[in-house]
């Protein structure tokens, strides 16, 4: 290779023979990486007179930004809502295993739990970068306990709470600390929710509406106070009604403040939502759709019984129910399965499906300047996929952290 006169000594890697997802399209371009970030080759060529140190042939793979899962309750036997002694190693295990699903960043999610669980578990969750050890932790997603009794779904009723007495102080007392919290799901029809939403939004925490019987105006008010997400659309909320669309109506509401976008999570495992409903939501508001797994401890394991916080869950194939009932509780889907199923069910382009799992969650969390895209200077968290959207390799900060074993062993 010609001598490299670049300003930094760090090696420059050029990924060639690939199609990269950029500007919402798959383009036949090379991907350049240096020091864990996506590099601008034009600047490198003209300003630094530099060139690649290593060229890797990607064999015509698709290169897409790494997936970001903002709702995952555990997996591989690990339950994030259980305060165990080796909680940290549980997070490590899951973060390492989901690399093979294409997830490079995630929000460990806690379902409704007693305050003692939050006080023990939350201090053990820290925001950290991903790497060979596993996917990056963006912060916790606290789903409950400030949710509606009527729409509790799989959440334990005895742990539900309200904040009518002390509003934000009640919430803080329940959780103990909000240091590494990224998302809070609550029911906006609860009294004093507006204050709470405002306070959370002020602290940079994303407020999500879910497990709620709110009508559309209550939901709109919540959005006006700062809520930006809907937790698993359609599930655990009032069904769409033509005279009161409820939370679902936010997808086409005209009361959203200017410049803001409402995002909504969808579990596209083929069970939580009928494909027709998935298509209706997507057609109504394609730019807001965020794919989530809502995976539980049983994900990645054989069918049987597992826990989900204070509840026992039975897994049979892809179905996960509260033991002895027909109440869905989380899923055992993996993120890449969701992306594939989504693309098939919607009939959308590969680009759209990939963005729903990468760009949109990054936009939701306000981190799209460094995650969720392959733009120059973004973190080099990306995947190599084949045309059927099976993950072949996962990269974090430009380093390969997982590769599909060709022999399948």
């Amino acid at each position: 290779m010609p001598s490299n006169k670049s300003v930094s000594d760090a090696p420059i890697v050029q990924f060639t023979n690939c199609r990269i997802l950029r500007d919402h399209q798959l383009q036949r371009e090379d991907l350049w990486v240096r020091e864990g970030k996506i590099l601008n080759p034009e600047k490198l060529f003209f300003d630094e007179k530099g060139s690649a140190d290593v060229q890797l042939d990607c064999k015509d793979s698709i290169i897409a930004p790494g997936f970001i899962d903002v709702q995952i309750n555990g997996g591989f036997g690990v339950d994030f809502s259980l305060a165990t002694d080796d909680f940290r190693s549980g997070i490590d295990l899951v973060s390492q295993k989901i690399l093979s699903h294409g997830v490079t960043s995630f929000c460990p999610t806690l379902v409704t739990s007693p305050p003692s669980v939050y006080h023990q578990v939350l201090p053990q969750i820290s925001v950290r970068n991903g790497g060979a050890h596993g996917a990056g932790v963006l912060g916790a997603h606290l789903e409950g306990p400030f949710i509606s009794k009527e729409k509790k779904g799989a959440h334990p009723e005895h742990c539900l709470r309200t904040f009518e007495a002390g509003a934000f102080q009640d919430l803080l007392a329940t959780y103990g600390s909000l240091n590494c919290v990224q998302i809070v799901t609550l029911a906006p029809e609860m009294r004093r929710s507006s204050e709470v939403i405002q306070e959370l939004t002020k602290r940079g925490i994303c407020v999500s509406l879910g497990h709620s019987v709110a009508n559309l105006s209550q939901a709109e008010e919540a959005v006006q106070h700062g809520a930006t997400f809907i937790t698993h659309l359609f599930n655990a909320m009032l069904p769409f009604h033509h005279r009161d669309p409820g939370i679902v109506g936010l997808l086409t509401s005209d009361k959203i403040p200017a410049g803001r976008r409402v995002f909504y999570g969808m579990i596209s495992d083929g069970i939580h939502t009928n494909p027709a409903a998935l298509r209706i939501a997507h057609r109504a508001h394609p730019k807001g759709l965020v794919l989530v797994t809502d995976a539980i401890a049983g994900m990645g394991l054989a069918p049987g019984r597992h826990t989900l916080g204070q509840q026992v869950v039975e897994i049979d194939g892809l179905n996960t129910y509260i033991a002895g009932t027909k109440t869905l509780s989380g899923s055992v889907a993996t993120m890449d399965t969701c992306v594939r199923h989504f693309q098939e069910a919607i009939g959308c382009s590969v680009e759209t499906a990939l963005e729903a799992a990468s760009l949109h969650p990054a936009q939701l969390l306000g981190i799209e300047h460094k995650k969720g895209t392959l733009n120059y200077d973004s973190d080099a968290d990306f995947l190599m996929l084949n045309d059927s959207l099976y993950v072949q390799a996962t990269y974090i900060a430009g380093e390969e952290v997982w590769r599909q074993d060709v022999l399948g062993m």
């Binding site: 010609p2 006169k5 090379d30 080759p41 034009e42 060529f45 003209f46 630094e48 007179k49 060139s51």
Partner: protein, 254 residues
């Protein structure tokens, strides 16, 4: 001169590309032996992104070239005339331009040697004619006020010093310029006409560009296409021939 007439823009582009490829292979470049390709600066350098992006996206990123071997006139240099003089020196140091490939403006200019430019001019600062400003507006979102009015250009004399010159002319709007360039006299109002006095010129054009030429001229050169097409037949690649340079005789001379 050789006048190569192809049916349309893509065929003309392909013929020209193959010709350049053959010339490079015949030359047999190696360490210390550079095939110096000259290209017009064309776009004013005041908007650096435009020109560098254009060259990067359309040329440099597709080929295996070391950035040190790319020399672009810097329109932001503190002393523009010194920049131009240094550029001429760099050309000399590289052994002279082996092949200059350029286009032609509707007013018959080569690079930005506008009508009235001296036919023995060297690399210098040039004020742009209205025609050129209008043509360049497409790089500035059609906003005429944003288009720079000055540019650095290689001179007509500089290009005449190249060992071979290839001019690409496509489209009906260039037809009159082509006529002036090859069927009329050498005239500094149509600076491309200077190449009538160059020993090795190739004009590659499409049917539309020949609209102003005499039928006799077009028929004559079309008749020569059988011979001219031999110039673009695939040669053995450098790798296949080994390290020795392959100085095969040119199959056809002017």
């Amino acid at each position: 001169m050789k006048l190569i007439i192809l049916e349309n823009y893509s065929q003309a582009s392909e013929w020209a590309a193959k010709y350049i490829r053959n010339r490079i292979v015949q030359f047999g470049p190696g360490p210390g032996r550079f095939f110096t390709l000259g290209l017009p600066t064309g776009l004013p350098r005041d908007h650096p992104e435009s020109y560098h992006s254009f060259m990067w996206n359309n040329f440099f990123k597709h080929i295996d070239i070391s950035p040190e071997n790319v020399h672009i006139l810097d329109g932001n240099a503190p002393d523009l005339q010194a920049e131009c003089d240094a550029f001429e020196e760099k050309i000399k140091a590289a052994g002279g331009i082996e092949l200059f490939v350029g286009g032609i403006g509707p007013d018959g200019h080569i690079d930005t040697n506008e009508p009235g430019s001296s036919l023995v001019s060297r690399t210098r600062v040039k004020t742009l004619a209205m025609d050129t400003i209008l043509a360049n507006a497409r790089f500035f979102d059609g906003d005429l006020s944003k288009v720079p009015t000055m540019a650095l250009t290689v001179g007509v004399g500089t290009v005449m010093d190249a060992r071979e010159v290839m001019i690409l002319i496509t489209g009906a709007h260039k037809a009159f310029a082509l006529y002036k360039a090859i069927e009329d006299g050498v005239n500094h109002m149509w600076t491309v006409s200077a190449f009538q006095q160059h020993p090795n010129t190739v004009f590659v054009c499409d049917e539309d560009a020949t609209l102003e030429l005499k039928v006799k001229t077009v028929k004559y050169f079309k008749g020569l296409m059988l011979v001219h097409n031999k110039l673009v037949e695939p040669l053995y690649s450098m790798k296949e021939m080994g390290a020795e340079s392959n100085q095969s005789k040119k199959p056809y001379s002017d």
